[in-house]
Symmetry: C2
Subunit: 189 residues, 2 copies
């Protein structure tokens, strides 16, 4: 668990910086939006990342507390440890959603400078997401937290976030059935 | 606190139904998306609401536990109560983000049927958000949870979610300074 904590610490301090970079890309776009729809769209994404930033401002010190050996046992009977796991499970989705925010931005900001910056953050975030997802699956199993992943059915259809998988677009499926999803064409353009 | 729990219960069971209605509106849109960008856009919103649904599946029983008098004291020394407050604080943002998802959908689905359904859910969600925000501010203060609202600076500039406020669009502000935001023209169209 010590080693994983160190990786989590690096991931979440890293993504914190990336959120700030992303916000600084969004800021002028919001200020110069051409209409209410465009402004709402970018402002909404900005706010979701801002919410994530404020959650990370609690999670990172909590990780540090455990790294310093002051969080108590790695045990489900320790409420502080349970809180750590809950927050990590939540920030796994935060990373997932960030990857998609970056993908959406890559569709819109086509200049070389922003493409390069967004692609770099997208790659790092995707790697971080995969790492956190894998490690948490192991931790949740190890500690029998009874946590079930609401995204598991998506992943079962293949990782729709993996932009290296050049899977062709899936045909439409009957409503109610889960769709698989590819953004295969996104980065390879 | 008993009375507030009852209101929270009604709000979160109500929004659960609305999420499901919203997903059933998004489902055919995703299946019939014209390109990867459009598909990612709606699928992303769909997934964020799906994440919220899975969190509500934990929050609602937790509220019921307290309603049944089985959650322990309403006290910061009770970890289950702290968990309740944490989850309520998180779902306040869930409601806020849902209002914006509905606003974004209102910009795009212009037929009378979907406009009516989305507007109805938008109104209810906005009322719920305001209620939860106000009650939680009081509760956080009463129990001195030390919780600070990362959105407070937005609200300080006026509630950008209030579509009845026909505030004109704000001029662009220097980067780094927080913007106020209006969607005044949204529903009044």
């Amino acid at each position: 668990m010590k080693e994983e904590l160190s990786e989590f610490y690096n991931i979440f301090t890293g993504t914190k910086k990336d959120i700030e970079s992303f916000m600084s890309i969004l800021d002028p776009v919001i200020n110069n939006a051409e209409d209410d729809h465009e402004r709402l769209y970018y402002h909404h994404i900005y706010e979701e990342e801002e919410q994530r930033l404020s959650r990370l401002a609690e999670l990172i010190p909590l990780i540090e507390t455990f790294q310093a050996g002051k969080g108590g046992d790695f045990s489900p009977s320790n409420n502080t440890f349970n809180r750590l796991l809950q927050e990590l499970n939540l920030e796994k989705f935060g990373l997932h959603n960030f990857v998609e925010h970056l993908d959406l931005a890559l569709f819109q900001f086509k200049d070389a400078e922003r493409q390069a910056k967004l692609s770099e953050m997208r790659g790092a975030s995707h790697t971080s997401y995969q790492f956190v997802k894998e490690k948490l699956a192991g931790i949740n199993e190890r500690f029998e937290t009874g946590y079930s992943d609401p995204h598991a059915h998506h992943d079962a259809h293949g990782d729709h976030l993996d932009h290296h998988a050049a899977t062709p677009a899936q045909p439409a499926k009957p409503a109610g059935q889960k769709r698989s999803f590819t953004v295969g064409s996104l980065i390879s353009k």
